[in-house]
Amino acid sequence: MKLSSETQRVLEVSMGINKTSDAERREIEALIARIPDNRIQLYQYVVSNPLGDLPRYSIHIRIQHLLTFITFLTLAFTGLPIAFFEHFWAVPVNNMLGGVNVTRIIHRALASVMIFAMAYHIATIVLGSFVKIKQGRFESARSMIPAMKDVHDFKDDMLHFAGKRSHRPEMDKFMYKQKLHYFAAAFGNIVMIVSGSSFMFPEFWASILPVSIGAHFQEMMRISHPHEALLALLVIAFWHWYNVHLAPGRFPMQWTFLTGKITREHQMEEHFLEYLRCLVEIPRERIHLRDMLEAMEQAEKENSNTAAGG
């Protein structure tokens, strides 16, 4: 396939950072040239480990995800019967936990774990980015930082799903969906922490805010806490779980959140730019790609022979 100038630039930057030798550069470029324009065609020749082939998330990110999703679900499980404690379904839940006053204590304890996970995450990305900048390996395109490319990717992906584009766009390590989801979660977390703290420390918030907005703030927080929680539940249930569990090709589950690795076909399909970086960074991956290409070319040759013979 012929790389677009944008994709070519990503490859060049990666090879520059990794100080790729000329021989390797030629090898990589030759391999890429052999990839069919529609990358999906490689799927049937993929040799892949369901547990994941290519590195994606560090152990820190995996621990943070675990902490976040465990606290998120348990916070929702304890928070909903607190917010709607008079509803018929909330009564047995509260009773099971030892009464609504115990549910409130559990909810706050879990909230502190969630806040810890958030602080841990901030420390990881700040320190991680700092180290990468120092090493000269930091690429903003490889991070969660939103870019105009995400808007174009979204448009192209929608065109593809609508059948108006032959293949999916060449997206980066974090595609538009993940960025949107990440910032929604970050925003939601902040709203939940601020609004939760406004319940626990109303005097503090009133003392630091101007009197003209103090009451509005408190009321906004009162309605935001349950609304934001429900919104987050909707997003998790109907989007995140769809993307990682239900979407065709992902069913029943991806192991990435535990192993930190992504499957080869997934990387090629949705994160092609990151796959190119893998080709640069992991020499062994070039062998896998060559095997795939050879299997595909062989099969094509056989097909054309059969067709000619027939």
Partner: protein, 382 residues
């Protein structure tokens, strides 16, 4: 004329039954304790369960007195005529006003002052409160609470059912008279255990009127007609409290959160001052804008002027709080859009991906299962 005949018939029939059943046992077969002395002969008629009438408004009224129950109430030592002082003869005349609670007892003296016992001091406070109404009120005033609206004087107190003899025996050692001791124990235990309503019960009591939509509308209308001012939150007092943080936490059974009286009554001499509730526009009210901070600081020690400006009765009503109204509206819209949008997006993507040939399981299997045994998992590295 019709009313007089009805009343006369009732009194006559009452007397007839009295004479027939004068020797009958009181209901339940329990004799009233010696303390209950029917020296006025009221029970001649009032011991009969069917003693009562249907008022002109169709309301059923029972005038039946169960002596054994009455003998266990707080008023057991008070003679009937101490309160029903207008009764001078038997059979008595039609009752016009009924009992007022500011009279003086002739039979009971205040042991502290030696004066005749009376509820006058508390009645005087009540008289100055916004809740005051005369015993016979007219129009909307009838909606206001009279003493007995709140003081329902429950006849059964579980704390008194079985007295702890390990306590009362000790008293009897010096006071000798067990009945005297038992009565004192009941008197004090009732005041220790049951004299104050719980936070939830207080809210329930206040809400029984302030949460009555018809009553509230009636008063709003009358106030408008008369050009009277009502509290800004009068209309939403009950519902907004229930939605407030205080209301919610009190609903959980948490007793430290503010109930109605914690803010609207003075805490100093609480039991007297709950009878002296003033509208928030009156400086005597703890929720008057000049007193609000001090009132908040009763619980919120670190509260400042900004804190006192928060709204303890928040609503989402457009005319009361447009900010909150629109904020809720926006949240509702966002919620609906996200819900519909995400399902639509997932469906759209599924359709697109299926068309792409990436079906529910990839060609080489799913993320869990590999179809091609040749491509063994162990072969993979990295």
């Amino acid at each position: 004329m019709h009313k007089t005949i009805t009343l006369s018939c009732m009194i006559f029939s009452g007397l007839l039954f009295c004479s027939l059943a004068a020797a009958a046992e009181p209901v339940g077969g329990i004799r009233p304790p010696a303390v209950f002395e029917d020296d006025m002969g009221c029970l001649l008629c009032h011991k009969f369960p069917k003693m009562g009438r249907i008022t002109e408004d169709g309301e059923s009224r029972s005038y039946y007195i169960m002596p054994h129950v009455y003998a266990n109430t707080v008023h057991r030592n008070v003679l009937c005529t101490d309160c029903h002082s207008y009764i001078r003869q038997l059979p008595h005349k039609k009752v016009k006003q009924g009992v007022r609670c500011d009279g003086e007892c002739h039979s009971i003296k205040n042991p502290a002052t030696g004066k005749k016992f009376s509820h006058k001091p508390i009645y005087q406070k009540y008289k100055q409160s916004t809740h005051y109404r005369p015993k016979l009120a007219k129009g909307d005033e009838q909606d206001k609470p009279y003493c007995v609206t709140c003081h329902t004087n429950p006849v059964y107190n579980p704390e008194e059912a079985v007295l702890p003899t390990d306590v009362t025996d000790r008293c009897v050692v010096c006071h000798e008279d067990r009945e005297f001791v038992d009565n004192w124990y009941k008197h004090t235990s009732r005041r220790i255990n049951k004299v104050k309503r719980s936070a939830k019960e207080i809210v329930e009591l206040c809400t029984s009127c302030h949460g009555d939509e018809k009553l509230v509308k009636r008063h709003l209308k009358t106030a408008k007609e008369e050009g009277r001012e009502l509290g800004r939150k009068y209309e939403y007092a009950a519902s907004s409290y229930k939605d407030s943080f205080h209301g919610k936490v009190t609903g959980y059974g948490f007793t430290k959160a503010a109930n109605c009286l914690d803010c609207h009554a003075e805490t100093a001499n609480y039991f007297l001052n709950v009878h002296y509730l003033r509208p928030s526009r009156d400086e005597a009210s703890p929720v008057h804008k000049n007193n609000r901070l001090k009132t908040c600081q009763r619980c919120h020690k670190h509260a400042d002027e900004n804190y006192a400006a928060l709204d303890p009765h928040p609503t989402s009503e457009k005319k009361d709080n447009p900010f909150r109204y629109y904020a809720e509206l926006i949240y509702a819209w966002v919620g609906d859009l996200v819900f519909i949008g995400l399902i639509a997006l997932a469906a759209f993507e599924t359709r697109g991906r299926l068309r792409d040939g990436v079906y529910w399981r990839l060609r080489n299997g799913s993320s869990w299962l590999r179809r091609d045994s040749e491509h063994d998992v162990s072969k993979s590295d990295s």
